[in-house]
Amino acid sequence: MAEITYREALKAGLREEMARDKTVFLMGEDIGLNWGGAFKVTKGLAEEFGEDRVRDTPISENTIAGAAVGAAITGLRPVAEIMFGDLITLAMDQVCNQAAKMRYMFGGQTSVPLVIRTVFGGGKNIASHHSQSLESWFMHTPGLKIAVPAFAYDVKGLIKTAIRDPDPVMFFEHKLVYDKKEEVPDEDYTIPFGEASVKREGADVTIWGTFLMVHKALAVAEELAKEGISVEVIDPRTLVPLDKKTLIESVKKTGRLVLVTEETKTGATTAEIAAIVQEEAFDWLDAPIKRVNAPDTPVPFAPSLEEYFIPDEKRIAQAVRDIV
């Protein structure tokens, strides 16, 4: 057990699965020898497993995803990478119409055991085409599973579960968590899908969030503890399946809920969570559920603008204070 980064933990998970199962292979743009992935997640894997199993592709997102589908339904376990989450717009047909629906529309004749890795989020000043958070589109696509790891320990366990899963898994990462460090076991472990992680226990208010916002929520919780406000922080880890139970129980305990993600507000995953919680825990809610999201705009370039766009600790803390 060593303290390693999220990036290293993810790579370790990929490496161990490739070593364990020779049907596992990676494909994507610049994931191989010359580059090792835009965020260096796959660096070294082509050297280790060969260019056949760590396969550089042309810039053909829809065909990358579709080739993963074709490989998956004929016995391989592809892990396809879309370099930036914003570019999955080009692969929506293969992801949402093919991968997601094949088992169903063919009446269970086939499984589609593939993983599509991509990365969301801002904070790097790379503007509207490289900074979005689009996870809710996929949450609205039945047939897909969705992992949203925010911690090094989680990412290793979840990538393994994703690769071994018989269904198509969207594996979403976030640019600003790659460098986060944590103690991560060297050995093989998996984390089941559909189990949230309570990152901090608390009594007065529940914060549910994803990716970098979990880290920010923890900082806020620490801060608010000094004011005597006890915050529980929940990281769902997967959006599909969704661990409603942990969340609902927490809300029944605290009576208050703040949802926080980096997505633009309207139609974000936080909307779905709010709808569920008011449906299932209406009588326990002591205050309206608060949503903290980015504003409904594209992601701007200039640092002064992007900082304003991305939810910060101040806004999260304010949302908590508003309802306690």
């Binding site: 053909s60 339904i73 269970g108």
Partner: protein, 321 residues
């Protein structure tokens, strides 16, 4: 020249697809087929010629006009018809219908309602074959209209650079719905586009199962030998409209007459007879047998039950959660 056995096989396969589609048309006339329908009538020689050159373990990737591919590849007509009728005994348990008709066990990767969406999937299946070393080939069918979609170039390219065992089969029936290919394709042949991807290509008479077959044999050999993809453009023609209610009035009379006079079943039958592979009587016997098979398949489909409504909730994931 191919063997007599092969000629008989080509005749049988072409006819089988024909009779299947006629049965579908018959059931449709009885109002038993829900939804829409893209009949393969008129294009039978393409599916027959291509699949006759393939092994059972090879794959075909189909389209919205998929019945012919599926039946020619060896799918069970019973399950296929039941699927078209939305029955629980259908190959997709009634969840797919005409546009998603698929039988994995017969080597069909799937029919798809999204034009040109099969090409990337074929790339992946061929990659599987190559990486696993199974030596299986993948024939990917698609229309002239599909050739204008982005996946066409992407997939031809990927198959070419990785030398994948794919056969791209363009069924050029000169129309995408009501749009004549002349409006949407600047060149005479779609095949010309394959040159840009260093993919060997050939244009054949898609109403002649033998011509299609011969091209397919060469392409299959190239694929199995590890020499990469081939594109075969089959010029053919729909017997009827694009979909259920289309009278296809937009097709010029002379054009339609020309093509409809060139019936794929008649053509391969004549060849087989001329080459002494079969007699008129033997041909008739095969027809009778196939007619009976389709009759029974139709009966099976009609008599099968509709799926219980709650089955709509199953098969989304491997396990429920």
């Amino acid at each position: 020249m191919v063997s007599k056995k092969t000629l008989v096989e080509l005749y049988t396969r072409t006819l089988k697809v024909r009779l299947f589609e006629e049965k579908v048309w018959d059931l449709f006339g009885q109002n038993l087929v829900p939804g829409t329908l893209h009949l393969y009538l008129g294009q039978e020689a393409v599916a027959a010629g291509i699949t006759a050159a393939m092994k059972d373990s090879d794959w075909v990737q189909s389209t919205h006009r998929g019945h012919g591919h599926v039946i020619a590849k060896g799918a069970d007509p019973k399950k296929a018809l039941a699927e078209l009728l939305g029955k629980k005994t259908g190959s997709c348990k009634g969840k797919g219908g005409s546009m998603h008709i698929t039988e994995f066990d017969a080597g069909v990767l799937g029919a798809t309602g999204v034009v040109a969406s099969g090409l990337p999937i074929a790339v992946g299946a061929a990659l599987s074959s190559q990486m696993k070393g199974t030596n299986d080939v993948v024939a990917c069918f698609f229309g002239d209209g599909a050739s204008n979609n982005g996946t066409f170039g992407e997939s031809l390219n990927m198959a070419a650079i990785w030398k994948l065992p794919v056969i791209w089969v363009v069924e050029n029936n000169f129309y995408a719905m009501g749009t004549p290919i002349k409006l949407t394709c600047p060149s005479e042949n779609i095949a010309a586009r394959a040159d840009g991807y260093c993919t060997p290509n050939v244009v054949v008479d898609g109403n002649n199962a033998l011509e299609v077959y011969e091209a397919a044999v060469e392409a299959v050999k190239r694929a199995r030998d590890g020499d990469g993809p081939t594109l075969i453009e089959c010029k053919t023609y729909r017997k009827r409209g694009h979909s259920r209610f289309d009278p296809a009035k937009y097709r010029p009379k002379e054009e339609a007459e020309h093509w409809l006079s060139r019936d794929p079943v008649d053509i391969i039958k004549e060849i087989a007879i001329k080459e002494g592979a079969i007699t008129e009587k033997e041909a008739e016997k095969i027809r009778k047998k196939l007619e009976k098979e389709m009759e029974e398949a139709g009966k099976f489909a009609v008599e099968s039950d509709y799926p219980e409504p709650e089955k709509a909730l199953e098969d989304v994931y491997a396990e429920e959660f």
